[in-house]
Assembly symmetry: C2
Homo-oligomer: 302 residues x 2
């Protein structure tokens, strides 16, 4: 193809675009630009303040809440004459935070921010405030492991089961068997959450690049296969433990290069997952060499 | 641990939950149940009608649009005395559809539906209307391939690059080299979209289970690495083609069991990706044995 035909080809494409634009206008006759079109919903200042904004000219009440605050109280945004609502918080410690907008009582995923945390009950947005304190979870130019969604049929559930599995950089060509960490999410989260809000994969990549950990496989299952909110009690009746030992562990040990022994198996869980971790330590001590409950609140009971 | 200590342990957990509930009430003093708490935002009738609902008592205008309609016009929902807005559409052909709620002009991801399609510009919800016409993309009890998010540094972009890669069931233990399909999304979508809205992985699983295709690796890259909306023209200057041939293909061929030859390499793309497919056929015929442009609109030009 010579230069002229390339030019003609390009001109034809432009023709298609113009035509698409016209038909888009015809299809949405009410379409007109608004101040929301180019709005940035999040701006982060050099001193680590976050400014949240939302274009909602017809709303009467807009709030934002999230874990950038110590308590989850809703902060009111103020409306300007263009219909843009704004509030500034902080300074905050550099980290990855989740937040939720509420507009007239309705939870609204920030339409201007594609970064979200998938949970069992819906989506929250994520905002990263960069800085040295959050460097450990940054996406850096280091060797990266892979994050895989795996589906398999779980006999104990009578249903397909999804699990997220992290394999370290170079795993595909390794010949040795690796230790495995089962990493359980908290209440309201799901098997995706440790790798979105938790950035588990990037933290592991960075720790490996720094030589601070050994390569391991990390298995992130869904913690509520029975459908209930709380799977922390009742190892005899809760579907989670049946699923875990009868389906998940055998699947992982048959399909991944992991060492199938107590001293190479670890379990960690956050919040509700922390209670599951305590159950693992109490009821299944022969299965795990290491158990780490995180933020369970359990030990606060007197 | 005997039965009595199990009982005490369970009672202690209940104590934690009650305490958490109390503190949640203290933290959200305005919390009270609403008709929205147990609302189902989507109900599908036996005759394939979809009823959309949203609880938004303060809203003055709620609409829904999506590809369950032939044109994307917004359908108005009607409000009842409880503040629940509802509209019923269809019957529709069984399929996976995307939809967007608008509340007083603001795009609102359905807070009651975790099924979404990730796109370059945000999220749309997904609703599956089951039936024999959509059976080909159902999540069945057949062997499932894995869907992996892979990150690697792309020299041509000077940045980390994310790509979704499907490997067929049993891939890990295969010794032969497989053919590879590069599958490109449309404008407004991203590298996740073919496996969410497109269900590419489940379609491939079902076709393999039926013996209708050979095992293959499917690579789903991001189509706008230059940041612009349209990467369909200008193979000399658009970062996509540089990235594709200098970074992506070498990465895939070095890290996956794929045959590095023209006759084992295929390219398919939808819409904007279809224009990229046409570019591949026109400018890089020596690279691909098969090229499939889908829904480009291009051939309509006279």
């Amino acid at each position: 193809m010579n230069k002229i035909s390339k030019y003609l080809y390009g001109a034809a494409i432009v023709g298609v675009l113009v035509s698409c634009y016209d038909s888009a206008n015809a299809q949405f006759p009410g379409f007109k630009p608004t101040p929301g079109d180019t709005l940035k919903s999040i701006r982060i200042s050099a001193d680590h303040k976050i400014t949240f904004s939302m274009y909602a000219p017809k709303a009467s009440d807009v709030t934002v809440s999230g874990d950038f605050q110590k308590s989850y109280g809703a902060l009111k945004l103020q409306k300007d004459e263009l219909g843009i609502w704004t509030v500034t918080v902080g300074p905050v410690t550099p980290d990855l935070y989740s937040y939720d907008f509420m507009v007239d009582g309705l939870k609204v995923v920030d339409p201007k921010n594609i970064q979200v945390k998938e949970g069992a009950g819906g989506y929250s947005n994520l905002v990263e405030v960069p800085g040295k304190e959050s460097d450990y979870q940054a996406i850096k130019n280091v060797p990266h492991g892979r994050l895989t969604k795996v589906w398999f049929y779980a006999e104990s559930l009578g249903a397909m089961s999804r699990v997220h599995i992290y394999t370290p950089p170079g795993y595909e060509k390794m010949t040795e068997k690796l230790p495995v960490l089962y990493l359980q999410h908290g209440g309201g989260d799901n098997d995706a959450s440790w790798a979105t809000a938790g950035r588990a994969n990037f933290i592991l990549d960075n720790l490996l690049a720094d030589g601070k950990i050994k390569p391991m496989v990390v298995v992130m299952p869904y913690g509520n296969p029975g459908g209930g909110f709380f799977a922390g009690v009742g190892v005899d009746t809760d579907p989670y433990y049946n699923y875990f030992f009868k389906d998940l562990v055998p699947y992982v040990e048959a399909n991944y290069k992991v060492a199938a022994s107590r001293e190479n198996r670890a379990y960690a869980g956050l919040s509700m997952g922390g209670l599951q971790a305590l159950n693992m330590a109490i009821f299944f001590p022969e299965k795990f060499g290491y158990v780490l409950p995180l933020s369970t609140g359990f030990l606060l009971i007197t």
